[in-house]
């Protein structure tokens, strides 16, 4: 996130004059890591060059337009929805003071804890014919089936609302940070010229925060395009569902991969657009940030603000969480048994493996970036963190294809030469599953570790070196203890993301290996929504943790920032 820690540290001479030889061993590791992690994306892009099959003609004449159109409508709709909620709440919480503002400023982040598919299941259960809402309506008004019209949540509109409800915190969070970095004297200056509050928001505040808004919406679009659980459950055919349908339903792996490359190009286009918009506009805040003053609201205005801020929290977190809780209370005795424990163990096992790999690799890469100067370093680091932009479905497809080929080649070679069969070493085991997650979430670890390291002034490294410590000794005795907090945060974030991730796990899990997310999906797909609630609630509970930490660290960095300026 765009906290400006680098601004806190004066650019020392050390940074400018750094010229040291790169460690060759490290360089080798970095390049290998980067190449390994780029396998899925390269595979998917490479598939474009393969000859197209008949299925393509079929896809083009039937569903391709639907996939593209639905993905586009969904992305635009979710952008509108998240902007509406995100801008309003961020502005209210930054510019005004009203009862409960402090509470809202962090509870507004809570919906992030809901993966889109879980909130979709929950609302479906609540709003369908047998659900509590329609049942109450029928009881109150004495209606029968067919007497009344009720909106169908299993539609593209429903999907848009569901996804918006849990993704708006990205927009809210980045805008809130951007607003807090804006000087309140700008707002005051605008008021002095007789410009009203709303006009000031749309003519001064929001245009200045445009980079943050665009960054937030980019995250939103990426998550929306990556979503599989919601659109699959709602029966909205998009790229992600299309890819898996082509792969498993039609059995054409090449066509599925080519479809994935189309989606990947869309994602790259979004990222390029964001980069371009950032380059085109360079707003500069006044150097000295005047902080703090919020316009107090009272009476009906305060009530309106409270209602506006509480709606997203209630609809995006409290109501679905309560519903999940109610279902869990009812179904837990049957659901929570030995197999449920296995689910937890499997999930934790996968998450821990992935987290350990990511943290170790991140530490090596980030520290290597710090001590090395080889020209290739930025590329290796960027290549390693590319996976975060790539939807899980694409990574799954991009992992499965080359790994299956490797497995088959190895097996064939062994059978021919040694007469033994290796079976499926990569694709049938945790290896491919863990690898896909590492690719997908490497960026989280790398960015966190890198950001923590960046806070350590270079003279610390120089001091330790002059006091006789070699490269690795410095890392072990100085950097590692100093970035412990950052590493723990990174580990937690990765852990949670792995726990939530659905499509990659769904595709790559070994036979008979189930995680909480997959089990939730399976039960929900079987229309056993109440039974799915225990695992869903557990996922949400785990996901709340990093939000609390994230919020705290942003508030702290805000304090530091304020103290420095």
């Amino acid at each position: 996130m765009g906290t400006r820690n680098e601004a806190l540290v004066p650019l020392g001479f050390s940074q400018r004059f750094r010229q040291q030889k790169s460690n060759l061993g490290w360089l080798f590791f970095a390049v290998c890591t980067a190449l390994l992690l780029s396998i899925p994306v390269v595979t998917v892009l490479y598939s474009v060059t393969l000859p197209t099959s008949d299925i393509w003609a079929h896809l083009r004449s039937t569903v391709l337009a639907d996939y593209a159109l639905n993905s586009l409508v969904l992305a635009v709709g979710v952008c509108l929805g998240t902007s509406l909620i995100g801008i309003t709440t961020a502005w209210l919480c930054s510019a005004y003071s009203f009862p409960g503002r402090k509470l809202f400023s962090w509870t507004l982040l809570l919906p992030l804890a809901f993966p889109p598919y879980i909130i979709a299941y929950t609302y479906t259960g609540m709003l369908d014919f047998a659900g509590p809402v329609q049942t109450s309506l029928r009881t109150i008004f004495d209606w029968e089936y067919g007497d009344y019209w009720f909106p169908e949540i299993r539609s593209i509109v429903g999907a848009t609302i569901m996804i918006s409800l849990v993704l708006y915190p990205y927009v809210y969070l980045l805008l809130r940070t951007a607003f807090s970095e804006q000087s309140s004297s700008l707002r005051e200056a605008s008021h002095m010229f007789g410009v009203g509050s709303y006009k000031t928001l749309f003519t001064i505040i929001l245009p200045m925060a445009r980079p943050a808004l665009v960054a937030g919406l980019t995250l939103v679009v990426m998550e929306t395009l990556a979503d599989y659980g919601t659109v699959h459950y709602f029966g909205v055919p998009t790229f992600t569902t299309g890819i898996l349908r082509t792969w498993f339903g039609l059995g054409d792996r090449v066509a599925a991969t080519q479809l994935a490359s189309l989606l990947l190009l869309c994602v790259f286009a979004v990222i390029l657009a964001e980069r371009y918009s950032r380059k085109a506009v360079r707003y500069q805040n006044p150097a000295k940030v005047q902080k703090g003053w919020r316009y107090p609201l009272s009476g009906t205005k305060a009530i309106a603000a409270i209602v506006i801020c509480s709606l997203p929290v209630l609809l995006g977190f409290v109501v679905p969480a309560l519903q999940l809780g109610a279902w869990t209370l009812r179904t837990a005795p049957e659901i929570i048994d030995y197999s449920f424990l296995t689910l937890i163990i499997n999930t934790v096992q996968l998450a821990v493996i992935v987290t350990l790999i990511i943290i170790t690799a991140s530490a090596v890469l980030a520290y290597g970036k710090r001590v090395g100067t080889h020209f290739s370093i930025p590329y290796t680091v960027n290549l390693s963190s590319m996976g975060y932009a790539v939807p899980g479905v694409i990574i799954a497809v991009g992992v499965l294809l080359p790994f299956a080929w490797l497995d088959n080649t190895l097996d064939a070679w062994l059978q021919q030469n040694l007469g033994i069969s290796s079976g499926l070493i990569l694709t049938g085991t945790l290896i491919s599953l863990a690898f896909a997650h590492v690719v997908r979430f490497m960026a989280i670890g790398l960015n966190s570790v890198d950001a923590s390291l960046a806070k350590i002034h270079r003279s610390i490294d120089d001091a330790a070196q002059l006091l006789g410590r070699k490269t690795f000794e410095r890392f072990a005795s100085i950097h590692l203890p100093m970035i412990r907090g950052g590493i723990l945060t990174a580990a937690l974030l990765v852990f949670v993301e792995v726990t939530k991730e659905l499509p990659a796990t769904l595709v790559l899990r070994p036979f008979d290996f189930n995680t909480l997310a997959v089990r939730t999906y399976e039960l929900a797909s079987d229309e056993r929504l109440a039974d799915a609630s225990s695992s869903a609630l557990l996922i949400v509970a785990i996901s709340v943790l990093p939000i609390l930490i994230l919020n705290r660290s942003i508030i702290q960095s805000g304090v530091v920032h304020g103290a420095q300026t």
Binding site: S14, F17, S459, I460, D462, A463, Q465, L467, G468, M482
Partner: protein, 357 residues
């Protein structure tokens, strides 16, 4: 005795710019030197080359006659046994004061480490703060801990990179004098890099003034001030102004204050038009003097006034007067030229009285 540090014709480029050009210097054991210069003059680069963070393009660096750096060879910083006190102190925040100090002592036994830590803590008068963390100390105490940490391993050379720049200007000289006392007590060979001449004067036995990657003059503080060898040094150190003069013979200058006798640089020919360096303390205010000048500007400095005066020729000079002599702007006051060292430079376009730091 062989010099502790010898730098021979070191040059290096950074970002395609000549950052150091043929820098040479020698330091005797126990000597405290200061590299003084404006920012961007290459003084920090020189320090980093000495520490081994910066490879040199040509020339050599020797410590105790051992080769430390030459083209395509740089002894690793951790093997140089050189210590450094950093501008931002660079104390390890997760270690206690004692652990910070012992960080460079890993080659010693536990008990030796403890003894040495106790000794340096005593030296900086923080015996009871060993178990504190850096953030629990005042900035002055942190400063001393950074010094103690750098001194603990008994380095061949101690480098100080503007370590006092974060201190209050009033405090700087006092701290610098205190540090000097400690360095002398430990008989440390040290180089201080700074842009603050008062700091350099308070600390150093020898001063090197640097500009544009070259050492302009390497000398004692007294000579740097009174016998600057280049116009840059004259301008950079202290206040002063240039007065047009003519060389009459090897010992005589003609100025608008009359003839001046003294030792002149023999490279100037008779009849040559030159500029004479005039420090404010060379021009005492004297009400009885027949020569008067008009007050153009004045600055109250407590014990004295610094006047900027316009001479009859139109040239401006600076002059100190005791603060009892409060004259108005535009008023004529009497001055005389009482100059001990005749420092002259080839004539240049008129130089306004320096407001150098």
């Amino acid at each position: 005795m062989a010099p502790r540090l010898e730098v021979r014709n070191v040059s290096l480029k950074l970002h395609n710019k000549n950052t150091l050009q043929n820098v040479s210097l020698q330091l005797e054991p126990g000597c405290i030197a200061s590299i003084l210069g404006p920012s961007g003059c290459g003084k920090t680069t020189l320090l980093r080359a000495l520490a081994g963070f910066q490879p040199v393009a040509s020339g050599e660096i020797y410590v105790h006659e051992r080769l430390f750096s030459k083209a395509r060879f740089t002894l690793a910083p951790e093997k140089r046994h050189i210590s450094m006190m950093f501008q931002d102190l660079a104390l390890f925040p997760h270690l206690t004061v004692r652990q910070n100090i012992c960080f460079g002592l890993k080659s010693l036994s536990e008990s030796d480490q403890r003894a040495r830590a106790r000794a340096v803590l005593e030296l900086i008068e923080l015996e009871h703060k060993g178990e504190k963390y850096p953030h629990q100390l005042s900035s002055g105490q942190q400063q001393r801990v950074a010094l103690a940490r750098a001194l603990a391993p008994k380095p061949e050379i101690l480098l100080l990179d503007e370590p006092f720049s974060n201190l209050d200007p009033d405090l700087r000289e006092q701290v610098a004098t205190g540090v000097r006392k400690i360095l002398k007590h430990e008989n440390v060979t040290a180089i201080l890099v700074t842009h603050d001449q008062n700091e350099a004067f308070a600390m150093a036995d020898e001063i090197g003034v640097m500009a544009g990657g070259r050492i302009e003059q390497w000398d004692s503080a007294y000579n740097i001030y009174h016998r600057p060898k280049t116009r840059f040094v004259a301008d950079f150190i202290g206040l002063g102004s240039m007065l047009p003069a003519t060389v009459l013979d090897a010992h005589t200058l003609d100025t608008e204050f009359g003839r001046m006798q003294g030792h002149l640089d023999p490279s100037f020919a008779c009849g040559e038009e030159v500029d004479l360096l005039v420090r404010p303390d060379d021009l005492p205010h004297d009400d009885s003097s027949p020569i008067t000048a008009l007050v153009e500007e004045k600055r109250f400095r407590g014990a004295e006034f610094l006047y900027k005066l316009r001479l009859q020729s139109g040239n401006s000079v600076l002059c100190y007067a005791s603060s009892h002599h409060d004259h108005q702007i535009g008023e004529p006051i009497g001055i005389k030229l009482d100059i001990e060292h005749l420092v002259i430079f080839t004539r240049q376009s008129p130089l306004s009285p320096g407001d150098s730091p």
